[in-house]
Amino acid sequence: MKTNRYLLSILVDDEPGVLSRIAGLFSSRAFNIDSLSVANTTEPEISRITMVTKCEPHIIEQIKKQLNKLINVITVNDLTDKKYVQRQLALIKVNAQPEKRAEILRIVDIFRCKIVDVGLFHYTIEMSGNSDKHDAIISLLTPMGIIEIASTGTIALARENGR
């Protein structure tokens, strides 16, 4: 069966052990997590988890129900078929030999990224955008020689109605 990419935005109690309950649920039921990001919300006792998972349509139903069953999970919002904005942040350290510098700067410019660290032979680039942009810039920089990448999971919020 065909697998799809699903984007879940989950509000949870900000308590020790909550992440382990969620991770445990996924591992014990053989669900897979593509990316995960956790952060505080404006409410002190609530955190938001944004999760990307790839699975078959009937599995996502089980995942959502199982998440909802956890006592510390407050809401599970499936953004997949809704209007939402999503971002991923990446820091990309790329080999920058003098003859390649101009081209790298051009790519950085086209993708509206920033150079956040410069050395004699490298640039570190900050990129923020959706996962397509993430993949695109990486494929363009790969020929230059990527030294290291650190990137966050996707974060997302639903768009407000009336836009």
Partner: protein, 559 residues
């Protein structure tokens, strides 16, 4: 009012209406035991192994229709409870387990007898807590009982650091529990209930399939009415036995791997299945693709995750079984339902041609015969607990349960060693009832030490050991599927169970002749005190029908 943590714990347990708990002391809970000794409200039964405490609490909950409580120390005391917790979790039984923990200042330091029991039991509890702050103790305990007993019930563990038990605070009773993220949905959707009635009216070959959820929501009466009004035959999972009277002509017997021929055939041929409080375990469905291939399926369950998990259903109903069945009965008023005569005739034919059967000769006792005699002598009124294996299946097949909460078995986990502590728990809850553990010679040895608990606490239980000198159920698989290589299943090296019973201070009777089965049972059941009755049964008797793993449930091996 100034109270210590230990005093708050006991007070909160009492407020839940619980009069008996099961436990075992140790350093981390010594303050609680000290407090227990200085009060008379709450009775404590000292088990001989912490696994026994949880099984006993599990059976107490089932027999009493309330919550069971176990209390154990940190470290090994806590880890010894894990099998009991996992069993209660699989069977959705409301149990609250209190474990001692090292003082908060030592947590995380690999202190003596420190284990992360909250971490260990995360996947086998409905929820669990570590209470680090005495000010939260009362509300956490209240929440624990609420979670254990509401929605789909299950075990909840509360880990109690020693210093929290010692600290004194001004006690304030916590108000009602309100959890923003936990609101089980009891009320089913009305439209769906209307659909149920339509589907029943249209059906030509309907079957009701009852599970443990019917017993947990105390919906047997409604289920029985539904069956009678609409002439629908009823089968049940192992956990559902007793939800519908076993003596009613509409009763099909148990479903599944060791289900009756007519129950399995009915599911294979029905055009409508009303599944209530079941989760479609693989022991019930066999090959999923071939399960109820002609049926529309209605599934009632309070846990949304049970629906569409293993089986696709056409009419899902999320809600409490009792509320849903009541709603359906109301909508059925003044409506006419089919007689289903052809269908019921077909089922009768299946029963007549292929009943449950065994041949009791003159020489060797058949285990099924012992259970039938037990049923006759107790008139079906005993609470039956079981161990695991063939003994459990024969109990399920040959003891006819007419009432709910009278069959107490480790269904989902299948934990050997369950039956004896469970019998003690059930008897503690229902002192006026006869409680019988139907045991195997292998399983009984897994928690045999609990005989001492029964004797010490004067909780009289009757133990019927079907001694085939084998780990019989495994031997049966080896016979059928592994060329009779009886690898590590011969149990002929066994203690003398009669002497063992006597060593504990119980009485023991042995029987090896068919014509003495009845008199031995009668003597054992009518003697005071805890009694062990050992029946030397046919060593290589097997449980039939049997559906080989992975086959359709209509593909049964018969005797």
């Amino acid at each position: 009012m100034k109270l210590t943590g230990a005093q708050i714990l006991i007070k909160m347990i009492r407020e839940e209406g619980i009069d008996t708990i099961f436990g075992y002391p140790g350093g981390a809970v010594i303050d609680i035991y000290d407090t227990l000794a200085k009060q008379n409200d709450l009775k404590h039964i000292l088990v001989r192994h912490e696994q026994g405490a949880v099984h006993a609490a599990d059976a107490y909950a089932r027999a009493n229709k309330s919550v069971g409580v176990a209390l154990v120390t940190s470290g090994p005391g806590a880890t010894n409870t894990v099998t009991g917790i996992a069993s209660a979790y699989c069977d959705s039984i409301p149990v609250v387990i209190f474990t001692g923990q090292v003082p908060t200042a030592l947590i995380g330091n690999d202190a003596f007898q420190e284990v992360d029991i909250v971490g260990i039991t995360r996947p086998c509890t409905k929820h669990n807590y570590l209470v680090k702050d005495i000010n939260k103790l009362a509300s956490v305990i209240k929440e624990a009982f609420h979670l254990a007993s509401s929605g789909r019930p299950g075990p909840v563990l509360v880990d109690l650091p020693k210093n929290v038990m010692q600290t004194e605070i001004d006690f304030k009773n916590p108000g009602k529990v309100s959890l923003k993220s936990y609101k089980p949905n009891y009320k089913p959707n009305k439209k769906q209930l209307n659909r149920v009635v339509e589907l029943i009216q249209k059906a030509k070959r309907p079957v009701i399939f009852a599970g443990g959820g019917v017993i947990l929501s105390q919906a047997s009466k409604q289920l029985t009415s539904l069956a009678k009004i609409a002439n629908i035959p009823v089968t049940a999972s192992l956990m559902g036995l007793g939800a519908f009277p076993g003596s009613n002509p509409l009763w099909l017997g148990m479903l599944g791997m060791h289900g009756t021929y007519r129950a399995n055939m009915s599911i294979g041929n029905c055009d409508l299945m009303i599944a209530a409080g079941v989760r479609f375990d693989d022991r019930v469905t066999g090959n999923i693709e071939k399960f109820a291939p002609h049926a529309k399926i209605i599934q009632i369950d309070i846990d949304p995750t049970s629906i569409h998990k293993n089986i696709k259903v056409q009419c899902p109903i999320v809600g409490d079984c009792k509320t849903a069945l009541k709603g359906i009965l109301q909508l059925m008023e003044n409506k006419i339902f089919n007689e289903n005569a052809t269908w019921l005739d077909q089922i009768k034919a299946w029963k007549d041609t292929t009943p449950l059967r065994y041949d009791q000769g003159k020489k060797i006792i058949k285990p099924q015969f012992v259970i039938e005699k037990l049923y006759d002598l107790t008139k079906g009124n005993a609470i039956i607990t079981t161990e695991v294996g063939q003994n459990q299946m024969w109990a399920a097949q040959y003891y006819h349960f007419n009432k709910p909460n009278h069959f107490i078995t480790s269904g989902g986990l299948g934990a050997m060693g369950f039956g004896l502590p469970a019998a003690i728990g059930a008897k503690a809850a229902c002192p006026d009832k006869l409680v019988v553990d139907i045991a195997g010679d292998g399983s009984i040895q897994m928690n045999i030490q609990e005989l001492m608990t029964a004797i010490e606490s004067k909780i009289d239980v009757k133990i019927v050991i079907l001694n085939n000198q084998y780990l019989g159920m495994v031997r049966q698989w080896q016979e059928l599927f592994y060329d009779k290589v009886y690898s590590s299943t011969d149990m002929a090296n066994a203690p003398d169970f009669v002497k063992l019973a006597e060593a504990y201070g119980a009485k023991g009777f042995r029987c090896d002749r068919p014509d003495e089965v009845e008199s031995t049972l009668s003597k054992g059941l009518n003697s005071k005190g805890t009694i062990v009755m050992e029946f030397m049964v046919d060593r290589e008797e097997s449980v039939y029908p049997m559906v080989p793993a992975g086959e359709a449930i209509t593909e049964m091996l018969l005797v």
